[in-house]
């Protein structure tokens, strides 16, 4: 293990990102959480004796983020005790007006941080050469990784060469990407013929192994519930072979949860599910729901979601997949002991709801609540 080298691979920090579903308070804490995760990367670097850290793109959410974001990012970077190499990605491309060329960045960037601004290989630590393909525009015209390895010769003996690129792989994008994708075959060829020994990919937020030597590190902190394995940093050790180990640094959770609600039991099950979730204050829950509930249970469901919204960072009904309807039955209405016009009005609303009038459902719930409280 004398000649092995260990470094950390991260990407998609997306500093300055906003999530509307979190609300102002959640947003502030989550934003801080992303910086905390960066600091934890520093801790992991210390623990694992990493020689340096590479970040493969999208360090910042945007080239026009506010000053506070830049300065706080610089502070977080200072918490990493080893050299850090940053690659401009599609969000913070090295385009005109880029953050990287701004006086704000250049005045505050810590000395141990290097931004890859061209495709020339450079030595980050002795024996390790880094070559990167920075994005020069957020709409590149061709494979954004190709410039990184196209002109490379095989690495000199004794030199470990790491390629940093950013973008979707043709194989993983599903052909839906509207920007050119990275040719995986060519990339693998560059690894195979020894031009590079490791390819650090960015852009995909879930930690993903492409090959032994080609990895997406994923984002350091979750950004949407769709991400399958976010919140890791990759500890890469290259010696005679290679080992890549994801180390969790994220503290947040974003969860999609689908429930079917039709009776008290199912509602109770949901209550239990909420109760069992860890890290509630750092968890965002997006609820998909289907089914129908009697009016009292519906009121209970509303109260539940309302209360959990206070406990969790945020609990949202997933509007697109939320189809829980009130199902008022005669017993509900009888229980209210209404008669006369009030009973007739409620009956009318109930029938309208049965006839598919969604608005009548809300009205009915309201009237139910008012009648119950008034009674």
């Amino acid at each position: 293990m004398e000649d092995s080298i260990t470094f950390l691979h991260s990407s998609d920090w997306q500093l300055g990102m906003m999530r509307r579903f979190l609300g102002p308070d959640g947003q502030a804490r989550w934003g801080q959480g992303r910086l905390d995760a960066v600091a934890r990367i520093g801790a992991v670097a210390t623990e694992s004796n990493a020689a340096f850290v590479v970040v493969t793109g999208d360090v910042f959410e945007h080239n026009q983020v506010e000053r506070q974001t830049i300065l706080r990012a610089c502070e977080a970077l200072k918490r990493i005790p080893v050299p850090v190499v940053l690659l401009p990605g599609n969000h913070d491309a090295l385009e005109p007006g880029s953050l990287w060329t701004s006086s704000q960045w250049q005045a505050h960037a810590p000395a141990h941080v290097t931004v890859v601004t061209d495709t020339a290989p450079f030595e980050v630590v002795p024996g390790v050469e880094i070559v990167g393909a920075p994005w020069r525009s957020r709409r590149p015209l061709s494979d954004p990784a190709a410039p990184g390895y196209a002109d490379l010769q095989p690495a000199p003996a004794g030199t470990t060469r790491i390629l940093l690129v950013h973008g979707q792989l043709t194989s993983l994008s599903g052909g839906m990407s509207d920007v050119p994708t990275i040719d995986q075959t060519a990339l693998e060829a560059a690894v195979t013929d020894g031009r590079v020994h490791y390819v650090g990919l960015g852009d995909r937020h879930s930690t993903t192994r492409v090959t032994d030597r080609i990895w997406f590190s994923g984002t350091q902190e979750v950004t949407t519930p769709e991400e399958t394995d976010p919140g890791n940093v990759l500890k890469v050790t290259i010696g005679s072979g290679i080992t890549v180990e994801p180390v969790r640094v994220g503290a947040w959770h974003m969860v999609d949860h689908k429930v079917e609600l039709y009776d008290e039991e199912s509602l109770t099950a949901l209550e239990d599910w909420f109760a069992e979730l860890p890290d509630k204050e750092r968890t965002y829950v997006r609820l998909a729901g289907d089914g129908s509930l009697p009016l009292p249970l519906l009121s209970r469901l509303d109260a539940l979601i309302d209360a959990q919204g206070e406990v969790f960072a945020s609990v949202e009904r997933w509007t697109k997949f939320w189809t829980v309807r009130p199902a008022p039955d005669a017993a509900d209405l009888d229980a209210l002991q209404l008669s006369g016009p009030a009973r007739a009005a409620m009956e009318e609303l109930r029938q309208a709801l049965a006839g598919g009038d969604e608005a009548a459902g809300a009205a009915l719930s309201l009237m139910h609540r008012l009648a119950r409280d008034a009674g």
Partner: protein
């Protein structure tokens, strides 16, 4: 509830009184003012409202003034099927006792606070406060129409009757629904409160987000622009460096070809020199040819002009002669004209003379006549001078005559008339004085003298007799009158120079004749001297004519126009049509004194003068023409002379120039020099063609142009590059700035804010819509229900009202079941528009109807009127009385009044009299 008895002790002015009331039927409690009728109602209220330890002023108010006694009330009533005896004493010895007897006879008693609470509980359980307030009409409230919608017993009753369920318990829901609705909406249906505010917040957030987005889009555009500019700049840079390489290539080629061009320039300059020399020689030759040609031309011109000069001189001479001839002819005609003019003058003189003579003759005749007339004037004047009688004289004479006759007549009457007749031969002598008439001195034989004796008549026959007749005194007077008259007459006659009146009249007639003649003669004289005195004119004419004899002679020899031979010869040259004038020319001898003839001669002479004047005009014209022609010819001749002289001079000059030129170089030398120069030029040009071929082969001429073009392109590319660089720098500067501004963060924050306020707004909107839906749905159902359950009350009111107002009576109720409109005989009026009496009646009817409706239920309460019907007339009182009486059939009606006669028509009423 039924009220059975009320006992008041120490209650206001009442020391102690018990009033018992029948539990059904109409009771009229009668009492004067201040006996405490109203206290009964008040006491009933107080016993249920206030505990015995109450410190309320209401209690203090009921304590009799100045008495330290305890007010006490006992009420006996039926409540929910139970009998209650309820006594309460306040202020002193306070106590509360309640005894309840159940329907099955069980009896329970409470005291103190428990009694109060139990009584209150029972009261609230069985008495609907709204109904109670509605049916208990205190003093002065009888006009107020009840609004009983929230009275539960009524609702229950109408529900039972209408079959429409009315749930009194829904009232809290109704107000809760309304409260919920009003959280989001105004009654007018506009958004309000947080809901309205959130709408505004959304709008504001949308605006902010749109602005932030726009700012960010501008940044994106700048980025794209900068990218484009960078690409363009790179492109232009590479093209520029290509171009600069091209420029260098062309420059090298140019250096190589410059030598050939230099040689061509040298040959070209030699060709220029040769060509200049050739041009010089050619010019000399052309000049020589021109000189030769000029000499030839000038020689010819000179000859022509000399000839023309001679011709002009001849013509000028001839013209001068013509002028002379014309002038001579003109002089002749002038002379002839003078002759003709003197002819005319002679003829005029002749005519004038004849005219004068005729006038003179006429004037002489006139003068003769004038003399005659003047003689007649003088004669007439003489006659008139002589006659001293005029109309006045004659009249005076006639008057005088009449006076004489009159005096004589008077005398004849007054004096004796004496007739003396000589009868015999004896002379009779008469002498008298104062006797009128002539008294003959003697009478002849048989002569009679009749005398009037005014004086004294003496008749005597001489010797024989003498008779003296004397007139008396009277006679003397008469006599003197006669004498006066006669004297007057005589004086007049003497003055007139006539003998008597007749003569005077004759003279007067003669004078008239003479005057007439004088007038006639003077008129004639005037007419004759109208044109002045003919004598002057005659003198003038005579002077003008001179001696008449001589005049006649000179006039007889008029100047004859003689032939003018010189003239004839003059006119021979001008073949004039007037020539015939002279052929026929003849002056007829005018006859002596033939004025007409003389006139004719004058006209003729004038015509001839006119003809000659025409000839003169023609002659003058001819002279002018000929003079003008001569002038022209002369000037022509002068010009011809001048031109000829000029031509001569020019010719001499040309010849001199030619000679000088020839002196320098003769004609042949000129020619050969030109040929040599031509040959030289051709040789140099051939050399030039050779060099040019070399230039063309090397493309030397194009190289310079290519170099210029290449440099221009390079320059253009350079400035294009500079422009792009500037634009890029500007854009990058802007981007640097927008990076500092954190525009993306701003946009994201704005989006976040917008999403948040939108979500909040949507949440509120859903709630607001739900609240509105519930509010509207419930409201609609309530309105429908109320419409239904207002029917029983309405029909009850109408049934009662028809008893008072007849079959056309109708009412309409509003949502609160209050009477809103009354219809009578088809006329609908809102209740406010009704008379006070009608309003009161309607209020009573409504209350009775309500009472009737609720009478069957447990919740019925007594109807209490504290003085009513104060506004109704007698007829209505009767009808209302009947109504109040019938109402007693269904319940307890209590009427408090101080005017019992108002209620005398209430059948079956119980009257209770309260004494002071």
């Amino acid at each position: 509830m039924r009220l059975h008895a009320l006992t008041l002790r120490n209650f206001r002015g009442v020391a102690e009184r018990t009033v018992r009331l029948p539990s059904i039927g109409t009771t009229v409690v009668v009492g004067d003012n201040e006996v405490g009728k109203s206290s009964l109602v008040e006491a009933f209220g107080l016993i249920f409202d206030l505990p015995d330890d109450s410190k309320s002023t209401r209690i203090r108010d009921i304590q009799p003034v100045g008495q330290d006694v305890a007010p006490e009330v006992t009420a006996e009533l039926t409540l929910g099927g139970r009998e209650l005896i309820y006594t309460k004493r306040w202020l002193k010895n306070r106590s509360t006792e309640l005894t309840v007897v159940e329907s099955d006879g069980r009896r329970t008693s409470w005291t103190g606070r428990e009694a109060h609470n139990e009584a209150e509980r029972l009261f609230h359980e069985h008495v609907d406060p709204v109904l109670w307030q509605t049916l208990m009409v205190s003093q002065g409230q009888s006009l107020v129409l009840p609004t009983p919608a929230d009275a539960e017993p009524l609702i229950t009753a109408v529900t039972a009757e209408s079959g429409t369920p009315v749930d009194g318990a829904s009232m809290p829901l109704v107000s809760a629904v309304e409260h919920e609705y009003l959280r989001y909406w105004t009654r007018g249906g506009r958004a309000t409160g947080d809901f309205a505010r959130s709408e505004k917040t959304v709008t504001a957030a949308e605006l902010t987000a749109a602005q932030a987005l726009k700012a960010m889009e501008e940044v994106q555009q700048d980025i794209r622009r900068a990218e484009r500019l960078t690409l363009d700049l790179a492109d232009v840079d590479s093209r520029l460096s290509d171009q600069l390489t091209a420029v260098e290539e062309v420059r090298e080629r140019k250096q190589a070809t410059d030598e050939i061009l230099l040689r061509r320039d040298s040959v070209r300059s030699r060709a220029e020199t040769a060509r200049a020399r050739l041009e010089n020689h050619t010019r000399t030759r052309v000049e020589r040819e021109r000189l030769l040609d000029e000499v030839e031309r000038f020689t010819k011109t000179d000859a022509e002009l000399t000839e023309r000069r001679a011709d002009a001189d001849v013509v000028a001479k001839a013209a001068a002669e013509t002028v002379q001839a014309a002038e001579a002819a003109l002089a002749d005609v002038i002379e002839l004209k003078d002759l003709r003019r003197s002819d005319v003058q002679d003829a005029e003189r002749r005519v004038s003379e004849l005219v004068d003579r005729a006038e003179l003759e006429r004037l002489l005749d006139q003068q003769t006549e004038l003399a005659d007339v003047r003689a007649r004037i003088a004669a007439a004047g003489t006659i008139l001078d002589r006659i001293k009688v005029d109309d006045a004289t004659v009249a005076a004479l006639e008057d005088a005559r009449a006076a004489v006759v009159e005096a004589r007549a008077a005398l004849a009457v007054g004096v004796p008339e004496v007739v003396v007749r000589r009868l015999g031969a004896e002379p009779v002598e008469l002498s008298a004085s104062g006797v009128d008439g002539r008294v003959p001195a003697e009478l002849g034989f048989d002569e009679t003298a009749e005398l009037l004796v005014s004086g004294e008549l003496v008749v005597g026959v001489p010797g024989q007799v003498e008779v003296v007749v004397r007139a008396g005194g009277e006679a003397a007077t008469l006599r003197s009158r006669v004498d006066d008259a006669v004297r007057v007459e005589k004086e007049l006659l003497k003055k007139a120079g006539v003998k008597d009146v007749a003569a005077a009249r004759e003279l007067l007639r003669k004078a008239d004749t003479a005057t007439a003649e004088l007038h006639e003669a003077r008129r004639t004289e005037r007419s004759l001297t109208a044109n002045g005195d003919p004598g002057e004119r005659i003198a003038v004419l005579t002077a003008r004519l001179g001696d008449p004899e001589e005049t006649e002679e000179s006039g007889g020899k008029p100047a004859a126009v003689e032939g003018v031979p010189g003239q004839m010869s003059l006119f021979e040259e001008f073949a004039s049509p007037l020539d015939t004038l002279f052929d026929d020319f003849e002056v007829p001898e005018p006859e002596q004194g033939d004025l007409a003839g003389a006139q004719r001669l004058l006209d003729q002479a004038r015509a001839e003068l006119a003809a000659v004047e025409r000839m003169l005009t023609d002659a003058e014209f001819a002279v002018a023409q000929s003079r003008k022609a001569a002038e022209e010819d002369r000037s022509e001749a002068q010009q011809a002379r001048a031109r000829a002289e000029l031509a001569g001079e020019r010719l001499a000059a040309a010849l001199e120039t030619l000679e000088t030129a020839r002196g320098l170089l003769d004609d042949d030398a000129v020619s050969s020099a030109e040929s040599e120069a031509t040959a030289e030029v051709e040789a140099v040009l051939a050399e030039l063609t050779g060099v040019q071929a070399q230039v063309d082969a090397a493309g030397a001429d194009q190289v310079a142009g290519e170099l210029a073009d290449a440099l221009a392109v390079a320059g253009r590319l350079q400035s294009e590059r500079d422009g792009l660089r500037d634009a890029l720098r500007t854009t990058e500067g802007r981007l640097e700035q927008s990076g500092r501004d954190g525009l993306a963060t701003r946009r994201d924050l704005a989006d976040l804010e917008l999403a948040a306020v939108r979500a909040e707004h949507e949440r509120l909107q859903r709630r607001a819509e739900a609240a509105r839906r519930v509010y509207e749905t419930l409201g609609r159902h309530r309105a429908e229900a109320q419409t239904k359950y207002s029917e029983p009350l309405q029909s009850r009111i109408e049934a009662l009202g028809r008893g008072v107002y007849g079959p056309s009576f109708r009412v309409r109720l509003d949502d609160d079941l209050a009477v809103a409109e009354r219809e009578l005989d088809g006329v609908r009026l809102p209740v406010e528009a009704l008379s006070t009496g009608a309003q009161e009646q309607l209020a009573i009817i409504t209350r009775l109807a309500i009472s009737h409706l609720v009478s069957t239920g447990d919740g019925s309460v007594p109807v209490i009127f504290d003085d009513a019907l104060g506004w109704s007339d007698k007829a209505r009182l009767r009808d209302m009385g009947a109504l109040l009486g019938r109402a007693g059939d269904h319940g307890q009606i209590i009427i408090l009044t101080c005017m019992p006669d108002r209620y005398e028509y209430v059948p079956k009423a119980t009257f209770i009299k309260l004494d002071g």
